[in-house]
């Protein structure tokens, strides 16, 4: 017979009460784990979505000359002394340490084209990448397939009086408009989009790029870190993070985190109150028994150990079961609530953290009952008086 045997015997004898206590802990831990997992998955999902919305970094060549602006981003002018990036810059970007965080690389070449209908700003792009990162693009017509196929911004289409199927002559070449973008309300409305190799060919700038848009998935790393890594690989370029996008993402992520933390804190607070009250009631019922223990030579610390051990055992069991149930519930609920595709994994670190937290809360909640138990006069509790 050891103290732990005594504790286990009591738990077994009072199994209904122990089960209710266990159930309370399981519900609390399940709520916190489910909330945490769902919130984390939502954060991740938001990050993924943000990364797909647009670029969050821009790589431009270093230059002292005057600049042109495209899509709110300043790039070098297409006039004299133009400085361009070599296409190898793409491979260099893909060789950074955090290359796995890079979601999309969209190289671009800018230039003015003299067409039979007037001068226009042309942007050479990779259409597949462009449509992936510009989710807001809506196209009348079709995405270009061949190198001579192009699309027009809505304003450019009106001014040049060109529609889907129209031809645009540039020098001795003929470009075919396969699609017209719906009005966006930005400078993109004024642009002619040509496939990158075609524009490089037209402008005699094979292997040259005006700038590169980079979209990075930065859930686990600061974007500044990726900027620094690209800068060190491309000393001839200037890498700028579009902080607005990063900041707004951070704000939303933070709001989700605050919500989850607040709810978790409330659950923790209420849970610890219920736990403390249950243990306190149990101690009041066991006054006489504790008196007997004291008379038989148990020290105050032995009494404290019995109570804390009992709470710790129930907390450990409740935490493990709550964690398992929490993950299962999150796996089941997340697709229903948030229509998300993020896979929910068995995170053993979360399991350990929830175990430590639950045992800590359990032990803290049993401090007041322990204090009352050891302060109680054993002579009085035995009704010897």
């Amino acid at each position: 017979m050891q103290l732990v045997d005594l504790t286990l015997k009591h738990l077994w004898r009072k199994k209904t009460k122990a089960l209710f206590l266990l159930l309370g802990i399981i519900i609390g831990v399940t709520t916190i784990v489910t909330l945490f997992v769902i919130t984390t998955s939502m954060n991740e999902e938001i990050n993924n979505k943000f990364d797909l919305i647009g670029s969050n970094m821009i790589v431009v060549p270093r230059s002292d000359s005057l600049t042109l602006s495209y899509n709110g981003i300043t790039v070098n002018s297409g006039t004299t002394n133009t400085v361009e990036l070599p296409e190898e810059a793409i491979n260099k970007i893909m060789s950074i340490k955090n290359r796995e965080n890079i979601a999309e690389i969209a190289p671009k070449l800018l230039g003015t084209l003299q067409t039979n209908s007037g001068q226009i700003l042309a942007v050479g792009v990779n259409f597949d990448t462009e449509f992936r990162i510009k989710k807001w693009w809506q196209l009348d017509g079709n995405k270009p397939q061949a190198s001579h196929e192009v699309i027009l911004g809505s304003t450019a289409s009106k001014i040049l009086k060109k529609e889907v199927g129209s031809k645009i002559s540039v020098g001795n070449r003929e470009l075919v408009v396969t699609g017209v973008l719906k009005e966006i309300g930005s400078e993109e409305d004024n642009v002619l989009y040509v496939s990158l190799p075609e524009l490089q060919n037209i402008l005699n700038k094979e292997g040259k790029l005006s700038f590169i848009e980079v979209s990075a998935l930065c859930y686990s790393c600061p974007i500044e870190e990726i900027v620094a890594q690209i800068s060190s690989k491309l000393p001839e370029a200037k890498v700028t993070a579009i902080l607005e996008a990063v900041e707004s993402r951070k704000a939303i992520v933070d709001k989700f985190s605050i919500l989850a933390r607040t709810v978790s804190l409330i659950v923790l607070f209420i849970g610890s109150l219920i736990l403390s009250n249950t243990v306190l009631l149990s101690i009041n019922e066991r006054n006489r028994e504790i008196g007997v223990f004291r008379a038989l030579g148990f020290k105050k610390r032995h009494i404290a150990a019995i109570i804390v051990l009992e709470t710790a055992i129930v907390s450990i069991l409740g935490s493990l079961m709550g964690y398992l149930l929490g993950i299962v519930l999150a796996k089941w609920l997340t697709p229903l609530i948030a229509q998300m595709e993020v896979p929910i994994l068995w995170d053993w670190q979360l399991g350990i953290r929830s175990l430590i937290l639950t045992v800590l809360v359990g032990v803290m909640a049993s401090l007041l009952p322990v204090y009352k138990a050891v302060k109680h006069d054993p002579a009085h509790s035995m009704r010897l008086i």
Binding site: L3, D5, R13, V292, A295, G297, M382, L384
Partner: protein, 222 residues
């Protein structure tokens, strides 16, 4: 040889009104004596037993057991003292309902450094001594009143104490079963245990060496 000495022991309970439960009680108990403590309800006999059990410090006076001023010991040392020197048989026996007879008897050894096997052997030996060798694994509610009393006595002697303190051990038993428990005490007394027993039953007095009468917190006749 004097084993227990109470010197001017007083106990005052302060509540809404002050109650003097014991008033300068002085007496001695020799080693090997079987002493009864008698008195009407509220006379202070149970208070005296709780002081003798080192559970309830007196308001004034001192208690010396085996030349140790027990209330000058720290709380921790008092617990050790109880475990080494005293065996308790409580009113209505106070067996722990969720422990078997054997486990109840092992209870005083739960916090000792003895090995599990030794604890078990000691508990089995005393249970056999009190005639319950075949009921080790019964829960208290599966035992008769007399058997519960025997388990309580076995629990009191498992750590081989010098002194056994009993609080109305026959109070909840019929005459025949009560007598069996008194017989058990007599055997233990013959084996060398000093016994102090609070009792209401005058029939028990014929089995003891001496009786201390208490009335209104004072010794009436020593």
């Amino acid at each position: 040889m004097t084993l227990i000495e109470a010197r001017d022991v007083s106990k005052v309970y302060k509540g809404e009104s002050e109650v003097k439960a014991l008033d300068k009680v002085t007496f001695q108990v020799n080693e090997g004596e079987f002493v009864a403590i008698m008195g009407p309800s509220g006379s202070g006999k149970s208070t005296l037993l709780s002081i003798l059990g080192v559970l309830n410090p007196p308001t004034s006076g001192e208690l010396i057991i085996d030349e140790i001023k027990v209330f000058e010991l720290s709380n921790e040392k008092q617990a050790d003292f109880r475990r080494e020197y005293l065996g308790f048989v409580f009113q209505q026996f106070q067996l722990i309902p969720y422990l078997t007879a054997l486990e109840n008897v092992m209870l005083p050894l739960a916090v000792s450094k003895m090995s599990k096997q030794k604890k078990r052997a000691a508990a089995e030996s005393v249970l056999e001594k009190v005639g319950l060798g075949n009921k080790f694994h019964r829960l208290p509610h599966q035992l008769s009143g007399g058997e519960q009393g025997r388990v309580a006595v076995a629990r009191a002697i498992v750590n081989e104490p010098l002194i056994i303190l009993a609080d109305e051990p026959t109070g909840s038993l019929d005459t025949k079963t009560g007598l069996e428990i008194i017989e058990l005490f007599r055997e233990l007394n013959k084996a060398g245990h000093t016994i102090l027993m609070v009792t209401h039953n005058t029939e028990n007095l014929q089995h003891v060496n001496r009786t201390i009468f208490i009335r209104d917190g004072r010794i009436d006749n020593n």
